[in-house]
Every structure is written in C-alpha cells, then in structure tokens.
C-alpha cells in the first residue's frame, strides 16, 4: 500500500471528485486542443500553399512606396531602371535555379509575316493592335532573352516541338544580318514558316511625337511617308514552340489574351531587343527631339538604357521569402521582389487572423486552466486535510504525500486530455473552417476576377501560375490533422498545465501540521 496504490484507491473510492476533475480538465482540454490544432493547421496550410506555389519571382517597381514618396515630398523621385548587372547579381543567389531577363517595350513591325488572330470574334479586340487596319503591316512585341535555354520551357509555359533553342554564341553575338528566332507553331503555320525559314522584322520609328500626329488615322500614322527612321533584321527560325496546357487558367478572357500573346511571341536574343532602344534613342537624338523636350543629361542617359523585366525560378517555393529578403538588399530604392505569395495576401490575412485568434485562445485557456485547476485541487485538498494529517502522523514523508496528489491529478487529467485531444480537434475543425470560409468569401470582391485571387499579382507572374484558386480550393489545403507535432505539443502543454496547477496545492500541503489536524 505505497503512495501509488493509495492514489489509485483514492481516485476509485472518491469517484465524484475524480469525475469533477476529469470533466473540468476535459472541457479546458478541448479548448486547448482546438487552439493548438488550428494553429498547426494554419501553419501547415501556409506551407502547403507555398509549396504548391510556382517558385517564380520577378523584380518590379514598388509603386506604393514611390507614390507615397511623391505624396509626402511633393516631388517625383528619380526612378532608376534595373541594369542587367544587378539582375545577374540577384540571379547569383543560391536559391535561384534558373532565370532570365528581357528588354521591355520592344515593338517591331513587319511587312513579311502576319499576326495570329483569335478565331473567336468575341476576343477580336482583346489586345490593342494599332496596325490592324493598315494593309500589309503587322506589329510584334518580341521577347528578348538572355537565357539561351529559354526559361519559359523550363517553367513549363511552352514546349519546343521543332528545332532547337539558342546557343550562347547566338545570344551574345547578335548582328543585324545573322540573327535567330523561336516562334510559335501558330505563327509558323499562318506564315508557312518552318525551321530554317527566314523572315524580316523592322525597327521603325514613326513620327508620332508631334501633337499634329496624335489624331492621325492608323493608315496615315503608319504610312511610309511618316517614317522617321527604320532598319531591318532578317531572322532565321531555329525553333518552333507550342504553349502547354498548364499555361491555361480556365478563365476564357485571360486564356484568350494569353493565347494571342503566346501565338505572336517571337523569342530573340536580348541584343536584338536592345537594338530597339538604342536605335530609337539614336534616331530621336539625331532629330534633336530630346533638345526640344528639354531632356536633362540624366534623363537622356536613362532613356538610352533598355528597361528589363526579369523572371527567377527558384529551386524550392519555400525559399521565396528568404530569396525576397536577400534580393531586396541589392535593389535600389522603390524596387522590390514580387512573387506569387503576394497574390495570396487575402487568404494569408484570413489565416493570420485565425492564427492570432487561436494563439489568444490558447494562452487564455492555459491561464484559465492553471487558475481553475489550482483552485479546484486546493479545495479538494482542504476536504482531504484529515486524510493527509493521518499520513503525516504515521510518519509519511511530505514528498510522498505530494507525489500521491500529483499522481492523482495527472492520472485523472491525462485521461481527460486524451479524450479532449480528439473531441477538441473535431470541434475546432467545424468552427475554424466555417470562420475561414466566411472570411474568404467576404474578401472575394478584392480580386480583379471573382474566384481568382490575383489581386495584386504582377502581370508577368500570372503567366507562370495561371490557374484559378477558388476559396474552396484554398480551404482544401486547410486541414486539421492529428499529426505527431500536434499530439506532442498538446500533451506537453496539457501535462505541463496539470503539473503547474499542483504548485499551489503542494504549497498548501507543505504547511500542514498533523498535530493541529488530528489532536
């Protein structure tokens, strides 16, 4: 009949008090268990969503801070364009698996090849084509690339169905006479082009600078008489690509726009795209227009530099955050790293709210457990003062009496917290899922297209993660599961709370005097 056996007899024979303790711990345990389960579910959901995010990022202007600067100071801050050297510096970070950068604003014209148009007349005007009404003239926004392997293939946006990608030499040694291009199957079919065929693109500057030309009809604006400068490039087709199904989002307007853009995409070395800028600037300079516009030397220097857009593919989507932190350190003011995690800001904020609420409930319930259990156990011990006095009078060590009490509390409590582990998770699942669903649906209006949570997403990034993510799909990632971490955490907190709640009762026992109790 040691203190262990005494504890078992006590729990059995004083069943009413044992049940009261069990019920109390069960109720409090449900709250703690639910809060922990929700916390773990939120963490797992964020991890799952991030893991399923395409690991793409880009560098773009932080217009929010730029405009905030203007609002605060009344002046426009000089906006520095990113150089290729800076992009390469960011690309050198260890998280980057592949990257590319392209010159932006590269409109070339052609009398040689036609543009592909969407067969559905509904989407006829989805992309603005000012030369559409000009016979025999088409325009193309070529995509200059630095990466000879063509990043869009690695990113799963397109697949090469014929021919090859570029070589390093072809990327680096561009010249006007001997240049290469990769075009779409649609464009190839429309213009009877195959691998080895050639076509001509014109880098033409039309006089659209004068106010008098602004309202000219297209056939006059883009007439031969209105050309200020032009030079032609003959390009050989070295590869033909087909867009992949993964590039489709399911939204017909977005897909139509992307379909048209990809069909008319011409991949060329960046050097060719850069000539668009240098030729244009040189021509405008020669015409004296920069003087007319009163450009400063800095403005002129800036105008001469090509504007790059960049894409970085990371090895692991979970590295997006650390990549952004490290890349941001290299970027000039008003530039930032943008990735698709920004597009989940709505669900992230709902998750954060839930996480915060779960944390708050957890802490409150732990404190409540400590207070309530301490009080209850102390009250129960007051009823057992006589019994404890007997043990002490018989010479039992106080430490063993304390051990008996702790054992009774922990044994009863352990049964209760084990039951509450399951029931608490079930309750939390129902409540938290409803909360999250209601919050997500309430925020649905923030996105630019119902059901698509791309509220703040970069246009460029959209092509790499086009699929819609509905609230239901997001909720599928939210799962309250009893995994090892949740169970260990719950038992640690639960047992810890049980033990801590015996501190006050133990102090009570330590002060007991058997003589005063029994005599």
């Amino acid at each position: 009949m040691n203190y262990l056996k005494r504890a078992m007899i006590s729990m059995k024979r004083r069943l009413g008090k044992t049940i009261i303790l069990l019920l109390l711990v069960f109720i409090l345990g449900n709250i703690i268990s639910g809060a922990i389960a929700v916390q773990q579910a939120v963490t797992n959901t964020e991890t799952n969503l991030k893991q399923n995010l395409p690991a793409v990022a880009t560098l773009e202007m932080d217009y929010e801070s730029y405009w905030a600067h203007q609002d605060a100071t009344g002046e426009w801050a000089p906006a520095e364009n990113l150089s290729s050297a800076l992009i390469e510096q960011v690309a050198a970070l260890p998280y980057v698996q592949d990257y590319d950068y392209s010159v932006m604003y590269t409109t070339f014209y052609s009398h040689d090849i036609e543009r592909w148009n969407h067969p559905d007349p509904e989407f006829e005007h989805i992309i603005w084509e000012p030369t559409k009404e000009v016979d025999g003239l088409t325009q193309f926004d070529v995509k200059g690339i630095h990466n000879p392997e063509v990043l869009d293939i690695n990113a799963g946006l397109i697949e090469l169905t014929n021919g090859r990608t570029f070589t390093e030499q072809e990327i680096n040694n561009f010249n006007q006479v001997n240049s290469f291009a990769i075009i779409s199957q649609a464009l190839a079919d429309l213009n009877n082009l195959t691998v080895g065929s050639t076509f001509v693109l014109d880098n033409t500057i039309y006089d659209e600078f004068d106010e008098s030309t602004w309202n000219l009809p297209p056939e006059e604006l883009y007439s031969v008489d209105n050309i200020l400068a032009t030079e032609s490039y003959e390009l050989e087709v070295i590869g033909i690509f087909q867009p992949l199904a993964s590039s489709r989002s399911g939204d017909e307007w977005q897909d139509a726009e992307q379909e048209i853009q990809l069909a008319n995409r011409i991949y060329v070395p960046n050097a060719l795209a850069e000539t668009h800028t240098s030729f244009r600037v040189a021509a405008i300079e020669e015409l004296g227009l920069y003087d007319d516009w009163e450009y400063t030397d800095e403005e002129l220097e800036s105008a001469k530099k090509p504007v790059y857009s960049s894409i970085f593919l990371l090895s692991d989507p979970l590295d997006l955050e650390v990549f952004a932190q490290e890349a941001n350190e290299s970027l000039p003011e008003f530039w930032m790293v943008s990735d698709l995690s920004n597009t989940f800001s709505d669900i992230a904020s709902s998750m954060e709210t839930l996480q915060w609420l779960a944390s708050l409930i957890l802490w409150i319930s732990i404190v409540a457990t400590l207070l309530i259990l301490s009080l209850l156990i102390t009250l129960f011990l007051r009823d057992r003062k006589h019994e404890i006095g007997i043990y002490l009078a018989l010479g039992e060590q106080k430490i063993k009496v304390i051990a008996q009490i702790i054992l009774e509390v922990v044994a009863t409590g352990f049964v209760a917290i084990t039951l509450s582990l399951f029931s608490g998770s079930l309750l939390a699942r129902g409540i938290s899922e409803n909360m999250l669903r209601n919050d997500l649906i309430a925020q649905q209006g923030n996105s630019w297209d119902n059901g698509i949570y791309y509220g703040d997403g970069s246009d460029q990034l959209r092509y790499y993660a086009p699929e819609e993510l509905t609230p239901e799909e997001m909720l599928e990632n939210y799962e309250i599961a009893l995994n090892g971490t949740t169970i260990i955490l719950f038992y640690s907190i639960g047992t810890g709370a049980l033990l801590l709640s015996t501190v006050v009762p133990i102090a009570y026992v330590m002060r007991l005097n058997p003589k005063k109790i029994l005599m």
Binding site: M1, R13, R14, G389, I390, L394, G395, P514
Partner: protein, 224 residues
Amino acid sequence: MSVLTAENVNYFYQDGDSKRYILKDISCTFKRGTFYTILGASGSGKTTFLSLLSALDKPQTGKILYDGKDISELGLESYRRNKVGIIFQAYNLVPFMTAVENVRVAMSITENELPEDQALVAYNLLDYIGISKEKANRLVNQLSGGEQQRVAIARALATNVDVILADEPTGNLNEEMEEEIVDILKKLAHEHNKCVIVVTHSSQIAEQSDVTFKLKKGNFEREE
C-alpha cells in the same frame, strides 16, 4: 533500560513578555513491558505531552530520548514512522479505505522490517484484535466505534514498534468497549513487551495501569 525518556521538558506559549507553561520541567522514563497511564483533567497538558512523545510537536526546551537518542536527531518523521504507534481518541482512520487497507497504509510507510505477505499479517493482526476477515474488508466507516478503535490499535501494532502511544483511546466508547480496549492494551504491554502509554482522564483506566503519572498545572509526578 528505558525505551523512552523525557528530560527537563518544557512546553509553553509566549504570551507577550510572559510565558504560559503547559508543561514545566518534566523528566520521566518509560520502559518496555509496562502499561503506563498519564492522568490529568481536561486542559492539563496531557495531550500536549503525548504529542511531544509522539514527535507531533517539539518541546521548547528539554529532550525526548528514544533508547537514549534524542528523537530530533533521529528525525521526527522517521521516529513516527519507525519507532512509535499512535492511537487517537477519534480513531483517525482513512474513511474511504477498508480496515485492512488502513492497517496496510501504516505498514507501507514504516521502514521497519516486516514479513513479506503484509496482507496476511494485517488480517491476522486484525483478527487478534477482534476484527474478523469479513469486517476487515469493510470500509471503516461501516464499523462501530469500538471496532474502529481496534483497527486503530492494529494499525499502531502493524509497524512492529516497541512504543504504543494512545490519546484517550476509549474517549468515544461505552464502558463495555472501554474495558475491551484497555484489556488489549494491557495484553500488548504484558504479553508482547510493548511500552504502552495511555493518556486519559479516567481514574478507572489509571487504576488498571502498572504506573500512573499525574499531570496538574504543568507539573508531572508519579503516583505510588
């Protein structure tokens, strides 16, 4: 040789600057095989003296010696655990345990060497005291007062101690039961060589003891 000795024991309460003595300079010895009574009226300090002998309290001055050793050096808890068995007026049994369980509680606490089959020993002890096995398996609050006091006696004996201290053991019992209990205590002293010390206000019990000490206004004297 004495098993228990009180040496110049004083117990008082501090009342401002003055002391209110409950026990004044008490010295006496107790031997094995003897049935002692300490007689005194209510409030005479006899329970206080017993609490000192049973190490439930400590004298302000003086010593209590067990086999010549100061019990405070032995450790008061250890002394109660291994050297003495205490019987209380109100029995002080664990109410939600059976009679045999109450006896076994004491057996599990003591560090004295006991037979291996403690359950058998407990049942035998209870039987010796007059509690059958059937009653031994009942909860103590299902037993009569006399039976409960027998259980308390069995508990005190179960730890194989030499000294039995009883505080008004028949205080809650009728005359018939009182006689039975006193007979048991006498038997323990004379047949089992225990030192039995009973604190009582009953002169009838005192007459049956081998040695009587009288306690009056803190003073302690042996009655011849």
